[in-house]
């Protein structure tokens, strides 16, 4: 998940700390920072340390430019890195990633949508339609099409700012494209659909900003990360989730090519992607959400059993077309 502009709260002196520790097994885990990275460390890093005495240092936030630069310079200081899935495809293609060792990582135990030869799931999430019931009262958006209906649901709507899987798919689904016909994306059609509400869009660049927009009612409806709406719900804010047509995606863990501690990192990935590791992580994340509100009053809406017509984002297509789409995305935004 891409948390731009989050304050860098994590250790910076990693490379300094690493010198002189060559004897003990050690590795550096890099992610997007904030409470998500804390939970990741607690769920996967702490058990590894307990189990085999590995020292785990943390760095962040993930920065693809830095990632590429350290691989190309042959001085890699990151061992396990949390990245967006489409980047993982692109990076694997560009030779920036170590192939994973599936004798250590149990591939069969992982959701096949979220594992490749070079990446395993760190956390799955969905893009969902979120709305503020203070603003809309009893009116309930039923599908992505309602996000584009400014008569039924007036007001600003908020979308993810950066070129990324999600918004274009939402536009196409809202325009009546069947989920199975999404890829390759019809960009002209998607942008034409987005054009119909362009003047009403407020962009969010990071999770905190998205929360602020919907909670304040500044943009009472929009596309959100599900795990970012839960804390709002559990603290009693009038926020609801329409799961219909939610877009499933995942962040993944990768090992940069040339990682000095790739064997250790492999064990870290094995724990992270295991059902136990995934459960521990989710427990920590949701427990925090409940505590964040009035104890016990949190009514967090998680994905319904039937999946609510979940659509899986075409991350492989995105991996191949990432830069082409980005060119058009930013050109369209700047118009």
């Amino acid at each position: 998940m891409h948390l731009k502009l989050k304050p860098i709260a994590l250790a910076i002196g990693v490379s300094v700390a690493m010198t002189g520790m060559a004897t003990a097994e050690t590795m550096v885990f890099t992610a997007w920072g904030g409470s998500t990275q804390d939970a990741e460390y607690e769920a996967w890093g702490a058990p590894l340390t307990e189990e085999s005495g590995v020292t785990i240092l943390q760095d962040g936030p993930t920065d693809y430019g830095k990632f590429q630069a350290m691989v190309e310079a042959g001085s890699v200081t990151w061992d396990a890195v949390d990245v967006e899935f489409d980047f993982a495809y692109q990076a694997a293609e560009a030779g920036l990633l170590e192939p994973l060792d599936f004798s250590i990582i149990d591939r069969d135990a992982i959701d096949p949508r979220f594992v490749t030869d070079h990446a395993v799931v760190s956390f799955p999430f969905s893009f969902v339609l979120g709305y503020n019931t203070d603003t809309y009262g009893n009116a309930k958006p039923e599908s992505w099409a309602d996000l584009f209906d400014t008569e039924k649901f007036p007001g600003k709507r908020t979308f993810y700012k950066w070129s990324s899987p999600g918004a274009l798919e939402i536009a196409l689904l809202a325009d009546g494209v069947a989920p199975e016909d999404l890829y390759p994306l019809d960009l002209d059609r998607a942008f034409a659909k987005l054009d119909t509400i362009k003047g009403d869009i407020v962009w969010w660049g990071g999770g905190a900003q998205s929360q602020q927009l919907i909670a304040s009612g500044e943009a009472p409806i929009g596309m959100f990360w599900d795990i970012r709406l839960w804390p709002l719900q559990s603290s009693g804010l009038p926020i609801e989730i329409q799961w219909n047509g939610n877009l499933a995606s995942a962040d993944v863990l990768v090992i940069p090519k040339g990682s000095p501690n790739k064997d250790t990192a492999m064990k870290f990935l094995a724990i992270a992607a295991s059902p136990e590791g995934q459960k521990r992580f989710m427990d920590i994340i949701t427990a925090e959400d409940v505590e964040g509100g009035v104890a016990g009053s949190g009514k967090v809406q998680t994905l319904p059993e039937d999946g609510a017509n979940q659509v899986t984002l075409g991350l492989e297509w995105w991996g191949e077309n990432r830069n082409m789409v980005a060119d058009r995305w930013y050109a369209w935004q700047a118009q």
Partner: protein, 280 residues
């Protein structure tokens, strides 16, 4: 100090400046040069990146945005900052110290926190709009954010100290007696300002204005948060290209063009008015 020992002092000056120079050379000049090299070598050797940059309307618009925003911010900063700097230079020392304290305090607060605070104030459900609506002054909320207005307000606020401080140090050197002399010679207040004070303070305005303008050209956080996507500035584009799209070639080219334009502006200023901060 006598004229005789000046050359020796100048030599020691070089010795003392060496560590800073070295630091700049290693950690600034070398990386910048290597980034610039990538702009003519990636993905192929040649000037394609520069062609793309100058021929694509989106990028042209971003260049225009950058210079337009920097100009607007600089102008507004000068207009708002000048009276403050003047006030600080004529206030009794104790009051001036409080004034400086307020200005510096704003600089010591985290930039991101300050920018988020502006979001809370400026948005259409924000403090300003809500208050104006409650007072019946406006019916519809004003658009103060996600546009040029938001960027200007947020950036001017951040830039003010960088203008006020250098200008104030110039103003302080102006002998108040010159103004007295002007009024004795029959100049009205405005005339004394236009014909005496303003011309004397030009060096301070220029050096402060230049700092603000150049800083604004490279600004990132505030435009990204308070501007709309149509207000994207170069720094944001460069970070997009390098951090997320791994297009070091095009990112390097954008950085180089920005650098050249900035240096050109600086050269023009030095040519016209001499080195800022130094008496002509």
């Amino acid at each position: 100090m006598t004229a005789a020992n000046r050359p020796r002092l100048r030599r020691t000056g070089i010795g003392l400046a060496l560590p800073a120079m070295l630091l700049l050379a290693i950690f600034f000049v070398v990386p910048v040069v290597s980034l610039l090299l990538r702009s003519v070598t990636e993905p192929d050797v040649g000037l394609q990146n520069y062609e793309t940059l100058l021929a694509t309307p989106t990028y042209a618009k971003i260049f225009w945005n950058t210079f337009m925003v920097a100009s607007v911010v600089t102008t507004v900063t000068i207009l708002l900052g000048y009276p403050v700097a003047w006030l600080l230079s004529i206030l009794p020392a104790r009051w001036a110290a409080i004034g400086f304290g307020i200005i510096l305090l704003s600089m010591w607060t985290n930039l991101l926190a300050r920018t988020y605070a502006w979001m809370v104030l400026l948005q259409s459900t924000g403090v300003i709009n809500r208050s104006l609506q409650a007072l019946g002054i406006i019916d519809e909320p004003l658009s103060l954010i996600n546009n040029l207005t938001g960027v200007t307000i947020g950036m001017v606020y951040i830039m003010l100290p960088f203008f006020i401080l250098p200008l104030q140090s110039t103003l302080r050197t102006i002998d108040p007696a010159t103004l007295q002399a002007a009024s004795l010679c029959g100049a009205g207040r405005w005339q004394a300002f236009w014909r005496v004070l303003l011309p004397l303070s030009v060096p301070g305005i220029l050096s402060g204005g230049l700092i603000v303008f150049v800083m604004s050209l490279g600004y990132f956080v505030t435009p990204a948060l308070l501007g709309g996507t149509s207000n994207m500035m170069l720094a944001e584009l460069i970070s997009q290209l390098v951090q997320s799209l791994l297009d070091w070639g095009l990112g390097g080219a954008a950085a180089f063009v920005l650098l050249v334009l900035t240096l050109a502006l600086y050269a023009v200023q030095v040519h016209l008015f001499g080195t800022p901060g130094r008496e002509a």
